[in-house]
């Protein structure tokens, strides 16, 4: 028994020497080369065809008056509708505006995109969803007013496209809106 223990102790001592002591005996630099192979940091190629800038918000009045055409195309103005903070229900004012918009849209044949927007408060992500709800609320109402569904589409810009970049209630109120944009 004693002998066994002595042996064990010897092994343990030697083991400890091997593990802790050996580092003094040899150069332990691990050459890791090349750590960073001459990786070319490839610049991301520019996007193939730079997308055209976002369609300008085409809100009439249309300036050019057709010269030769006998019947003048109706000049259509679609008004924006506004919402309360963190709300996407239509106010009475918003409903009235949408009724006028519905009449105007029925006079033309173009498609209309409803663009939902939010004020700068709240998170960018939540506002994207909120803006979409605002656009869809207007879309549903326009459909109930008789605008064909296939003439309407929606998109949300969340808080990415403020009309007024101020940081006060006046600016925020302008930014919580749906813009109705006539598509070409």
């Amino acid at each position: 028994m004693k002998q066994k223990m002595a042996k064990l102790l010897l092994v343990v001592c030697f083991g400890a020497f091997l593990i802790s002591g050996c580092s003094c005996l040899k150069e332990d630099v691990k050459v890791e080369e090349p750590i960073a192979p001459p990786v070319k940091v490839v610049e991301a190629p520019p996007a193939p065809a730079p997308a055209p800038p976002p369609a300008p918000v085409v809100v009439a009045p249309v300036k050019e008056v057709p010269v030769v055409v006998p019947v003048v195309a109706p000049v259509v103005v679609l008004q924006s509708v506004y919402f309360g903070f963190d709300k996407y229900v239509l106010t009475a004012d918003a409903s009235d505006v949408l009724k006028k918009n519905a009449d105007a849209i029925k006079k033309i044949t173009s498609k209309v995109q409803i663009q939902g927007n939010c004020d700068e408060r709240g998170s960018a992500e939540y506002n994207l969803a909120l803006g979409e709800n605002r656009a869809k609320t207007a879309q549903k109402y326009l459909i109930t007013l008789g605008v064909p569904a296939d003439r309407l589409s929606v998109i949300s810009f969340g808080k990415e496209k403020p009309l007024d970049t101020g940081h006060n209630e006046a600016a925020w109120a302008k930014n919580r809106r749906d813009d109705l944009v006539i598509l070409k």
Binding site: A16, V31, E33, V39, V42, A124, E125
Partner: protein, 428 residues
């Protein structure tokens, strides 16, 4: 007799046991600043001396290891008679006398466009070498090579590598519209990823760090794209009608959770990395967005306003067992599940600003990490030691990093733009 033997074994093995043990020092908390690390002046080891490069190496080490947390960096330098960097080429006593527990010595040798860096880490109290590494590469990889040793240093001290070779992807309106960028975690080597002139948001790294997903309006609808960073090869993986936003890569890299509105309003779905729909997880008329996976992929935290205002919820990753996580505060968003699974970061809108909090997945231990201004979109570093987020202390929004306990808040993006929505990649 037996216990005496055990004692002897323990004593004999002590120096090696501490190597084998994952933590060389007892680092029980972030920001434990009682241990002092000295970083010796960087030495020229051959070739043309270059003071700028020597200073840059030292600055990178100091920046990384100061943020690291387990130690304070000693600002002074020891008065050495001989300042060699290898064992036997210098004396530990002067370092011991200024209070250093650990010491990093390093040197460089430049040949043409190539540089060799040698780093050595010492236990000053025991006068012992802990680690040594030599890296050779081109000069422009100097920062990457030095960050690699910082990662290594944390491994030696704590048993787990640092995240300093990771990258941060983020959104910047630098060029007038929001584009996606990638930079080193400390703000260097800024690389513009998208350049399409529209709105590009919500970037997230794949688990291997080689790809990102992001949402872009470049084709007129907020669609989800997957892009390989180095080659720029890209695929539009979800262009379903309506929103395809807040994509989050699954921990195994095979799937993506995201919010889509194709079925009427914003709901959480899982799609394959090529865009095929795998599952719809939520069915509610309220807004459901911003999914974040638990590290084992079994659960998903997300934001829903189904109870009237945005709050964080958790569900199984098949949509079952839904439960509410946050009860305090009226507006809680941006959940990010920690890499170890034990905490969930989120940001809360309160009193005009946004503050970052963490909470356990069981709803206990809610802890506030920031106090002023607008602090948003918190994301964990891949090792869970640090958090990157956007903040606007002086008006201008920028990308910041801090320790997981909220200490060491440091601005890293420095272009004067309103940088936001950062995510930190694994080692490449």
């Amino acid at each position: 007799m037996k216990s005496a033997l055990c004692l002897i074994i323990t004593l004999l093995l002590f120096p090696t046991a501490s190597f084998a043990d994952p933590s060389y020092t007892e680092v029980t908390a972030q920001g434990n600043r009682q241990v002092y690390l000295a970083i010796a002046p960087v030495k020229n080891l051959g070739g043309t001396p270059n003071e700028t490069i020597a200073r840059e190496i030292g600055d990178i080490l100091k920046f990384d290891l100061n943020l690291a947390g387990p130690f304070s960096i000693l600002t002074g330098s020891a008065n050495e008679a001989s300042s060699g960097i290898r064992p036997g080429e210098f004396d530990f006593a002067p370092w011991r006398s200024i209070g250093a527990a650990f010491l990093i010595k390093s040197g460089y040798a430049i040949t043409g466009n190539s540089i060799t860096l040698e780093f050595r880490m010492y236990d000053v109290l025991n006068g012992k070498s802990l680690d040594s590494k030599r890296y050779t590469g081109v000069l422009k990889d100097l920062r990457k090579m030095t960050h690699t040793f910082s990662d290594e240093t944390l491994f030696v001290i704590t048993g787990e590598k640092g995240p300093f070779t990771g990258k941060i992807t983020y959104v910047s309106p630098l060029s007038g519209n929001k584009e996606i960028f990638v930079m080193d975690y400390d703000g260097y080597n800024v690389q513009k990823i998208t350049n399409n002139g529209t709105i590009n948001i919500n970037p997230d790294f794949s688990p291997n760090g080689r790809e990102i997903i992001y949402t872009s309006y470049k084709k007129g609808n907020p669609d989800l794209y997957r892009r390989e960073i180095t080659t720029g090869v890209e695929a539009r993986i979800s262009s379903r009608q309506g929103a395809n936003i807040t994509g989050a890569w699954s921990p195994d890299g095979s799937r993506i959770a995201l919010a889509m509105s194709k079925d009427g309003n914003s709901e959480i779905y899982i799609i394959g990395k090529n865009g095929n729909e795998l599952a719809r997880l939520t069915h509610h008329e309220a807004i459901d967005i911003s999914p974040s996976w638990s590290p084992d992929g079994s659960h998903i935290a997300f934001v829903s306003d189904r109870l009237g205002s945005p709050q964080i919820f958790i569900m199984d990753s098949n949509g079952s067992n839904l439960r509410r996580l946050t009860y305090d505060g009226k507006y809680n968003v941006n959940p990010d599940w920690s890499p170890k699974g034990d905490r969930i970061l989120y940001s809360r809108q309160e009193a005009g600003g946004f503050q970052i909090y963490t909470i356990s997945p069981d709803g206990t231990g809610n802890t506030q990490l920031t106090t002023d201004g607008r602090n948003e979109n918190p994301h964990w570093s891949p090792d869970g030691r640090f958090i990157t987020f956007s903040a606007n202390p002086a008006g201008g929004e920028a990308i910041y990093v801090m320790r997981a306990d909220g200490t060491g808040k440091t601005r890293v993006s420095r272009n004067g733009s309103r940088d936001m929505q950062p995510a930190w990649s694994n080692h490449l």
